[in-house]
Amino acid sequence: MISDEFRSVILKELNLDDFEINDETTADQVPGWDSLNHLNVILAIENAFKIELSSYDIIKCNNIGELYNLVQSKLEE
């Protein structure tokens, strides 16, 4: 399950005060998460968790839960 910190990094980047996102949520369901903002969200996650993600790995993520798992796997490296 995605962490509160992970959720709040995404919400902050998209200027959303309160919006329910969970593992199954997809980017197109989140207000403001369009193709132009996508890279900003990824950069915000990379900065917050001090990691670098491969964009080819990110493309394979089908939802926010999978993106969170990718972040976790980077943190464990």
Partner: protein, 565 residues
């Protein structure tokens, strides 16, 4: 070039290329993390012929308009050619992204069909349910849907003979494709282009960029856009060179795809809207750029939205260490109505820039200054290409002198013949062979500078958005006072493009309720494939009205800009 002029019909040129360079790559199909699929000229034409037979078998006839609604797929290309091969007109439409509400998508297709007279939709099974209500409706011209990727029967001697005979009869004035120029929702303007218009363009634009047989074009541009369809697909194919095709949906998620494709395929030419230069410069980490080399590139062509000086500067600074030749950064001004390009920076001199007095510029006067301080730096869209003429005119279409900004009017050997089924719009923009573009610009030393649009238009990442469409959508949201909304484009310097902002009057005063309204506005925008980036909620009677009694976009943009400062 001589052979292109001699053959003078696209199908004949493609057949010639397949015979002349059977094993040369026509299309290299790129997908992130996968081995590229290479389609040679011989294979492309053989497959196209099979699709021609299969489509004819299904009842598609010469002159029918076939909308192609498919995701990035290696068979898209032979399907497209197969349509042309029986004299039907391919019209590539945008595949719906998941945000878009199905009703909105259907509304767009219905509007297009009523105007363009779409006959068939060639698509994928995954869109069957979404498209079904359109097929049941009597309000459009669509006769049926086919799923070419599921076609099984391609052989038919009798049909093959008929098709071969038809192909021998094609002449260069025959129409070859239909593309949609921008317009408000459901009113996109259908532009039909002939063999002659496209071939003239291949010759003239090819000359302007010194196209040679060793060039390779790489593109992530969608093929429903003239820059993707004409510049990155038709021109390479007619010229007998390779077009490397990247999925637009994947590129926006992983922009390094373009750089990887350039490096591995040793591409020489790419075309990008201005915002893409910012994305490539700012949003890819150095780690991801390891191994990238741009030394094969002759031309990065900036087109489809106003060229920003800063975007080129940051791109140059970032990629000089990856063997970028700064002179390869060029610009072009183009539109569907003239097939594609009107102007292009000359190779190998790169782009010209001009410092002009800022205050006079806002009044429509060009005064060149030497000192960049307090001036505005403009980037030229290049010299007018051969086969094109340009005039700068005032409101009454009278010519203006060189130091004044006016509407750009064009005459071209690749001109469209008018919008299909839209005579009133055609007569509005075409007069005595001149096309009045609605774009504003000026010419200095034979260099064309394009600075914006005559009418309110928001250009986000190369996509044209009409403010009235946004205002209609937002006006209907509970909490917003109907009709009291203004949509405008605001410059986002970090993105190198405009963003969509709205100013909406509301009686709501409670901050929590306002936050909810903001979210409703963003959501409604998303359902209409619009990202509304800034929302200004203002009290009743805040918006300044025009003399016609409607909220004025210009005056309210100035008012909000003064408040922001």
């Amino acid at each position: 070039m001589q052979k292109i002029n001699e053959l003078n019909v696209l199908w004949h040129i493609w057949e010639f290329n397949a015979g002349e360079f059977p094993n040369k790559d026509a299309i290299v199909f790129w997908k992130a993390g996968e081995t590229p699929i290479r389609i040679t000229y011989k294979t492309l034409l053989e497959k196209a012929n099979k699709y021609s037979i299969a489509l004819k078998k299904q009842g598609v006839k010469a002159g029918d308009v076939c909308a192609i609604l498919m995701r990035h797929h290696p068979d898209f290309y032979p399907i497209y050619l197969g349509v042309v091969g029986i004299g039907a007109l391919p019209a590539v439409l945008a595949y719906p992204n998941p945000r878009l509400h199905p009703d909105k998508f259907r509304q767009g297709i219905e509007g297009m069909s009523q105007r363009s007279g779409l006959d068939w939709i060639l698509t994928e099974r995954s869109l069957e349910n979404i498209l079904q209500p359109i097929l049941n409706s009597k309000e459009n011209s669509i006769r049926g849907t086919y799923y070419p990727l599921e076609f099984e029967s391609y052989e038919d001697e009798k049909l093959q003979k008929e098709i071969t005979l038809y192909r021998q009869s094609i002449i260069n004035t025959n129409p070859v494709l239909l593309q949609h120029s921008s317009g408000t929702t459901g009113l996109q303007k259908p532009v039909v282009l002939s063999n002659q218009a496209i071939i003239n363009h291949v010759v003239h634009y090819g000359n302007s960029i010194n196209l040679t047989e060793s060039d390779k074009v790489v593109s992530w541009l969608p093929l429903y856009h003239d820059m993707g369809l004409i510049a990155a697909f038709h021109i390479p194919l007619a010229f007998g060179i390779t077009s490397i095709q990247i999925d637009p949906f994947e590129w926006v998620l992983a922009p390094r795809l373009l750089l990887d494709a350039i490096t591995i395929e040793k591409a020489t030419i790419t075309l990008l809207p201005n915002f893409a230069f910012n994305i490539l410069a700012d949003k890819i980490s150095d780690k991801e750029l390891k191994g990238v080399s741009l030394n094969s590139m002759r031309l990065f062509i900036n087109c489809s939205e106003p060229v920003r000086f800063q975007s080129f500067e940051k791109f140059k600074n970032k990629f000089i260490q990856y063997e970028l030749n700064p002179d390869s950064l060029t610009a072009s001004y183009a539109m569907a109505e003239t097939t594609f390009a009107v102007s292009q920076s000359l190779f190998p001199n790169g782009c010209k820039t001009l410092n002009v007095d800022k205050d006079k510029f806002t009044k429509g006067i060009i005064e060149i200054v030497d000192d960049p301080a307090g001036s505005k730096t403009l980037v030229s869209s290049g010299k007018i290409i051969s086969g094109c003429q340009v005039r700068i005119v005032d409101e009454k279409r009278n010519d203006l002198s060189e130091n004044l900004i006016g509407e750009i009017a064009i005459k071209s050997v690749s001109m469209f013949d008018g919008y299909r089924n839209y005579p009133e719009k055609t007569s509005e923009v075409l007069e005595d062979g001149w096309y009045f573009s609605g774009d504003l610009g000026f010419v200095v030393n034979d260099e064309l500078y394009v600075i914006g649009r005559k009418k309110d238009l928001i250009i986000v990442a190369g996509k044209n958005i009409y403010p009235e469409d946004v205002e209609d959508i937002i006006s209907n949201i509970p909490g917003v006072i109907p009709g009291r909304v203004v949509a405008l484009g605001e410059e986002d310097e970090s993105l190198g493009t405009e963003i969509v902002s709205i100013i909406a009057e509301t009686k709501i005063e409670d901050e929590k309720e306002k936050a909810k309204l903001r979210l409703d506005i963003v959501r409604k925008g998303m359902q209409n494939d619009l990202n509304i980036s800034r929302i200004y909620l203002v009290p009743p009677r805040w918006l300044i009205k025009s003399s016609a009694g409607k909220p004025s976009r210009k005056a309210n943009k100035e008012r909000i800009s003064n408040i922001n400062q």
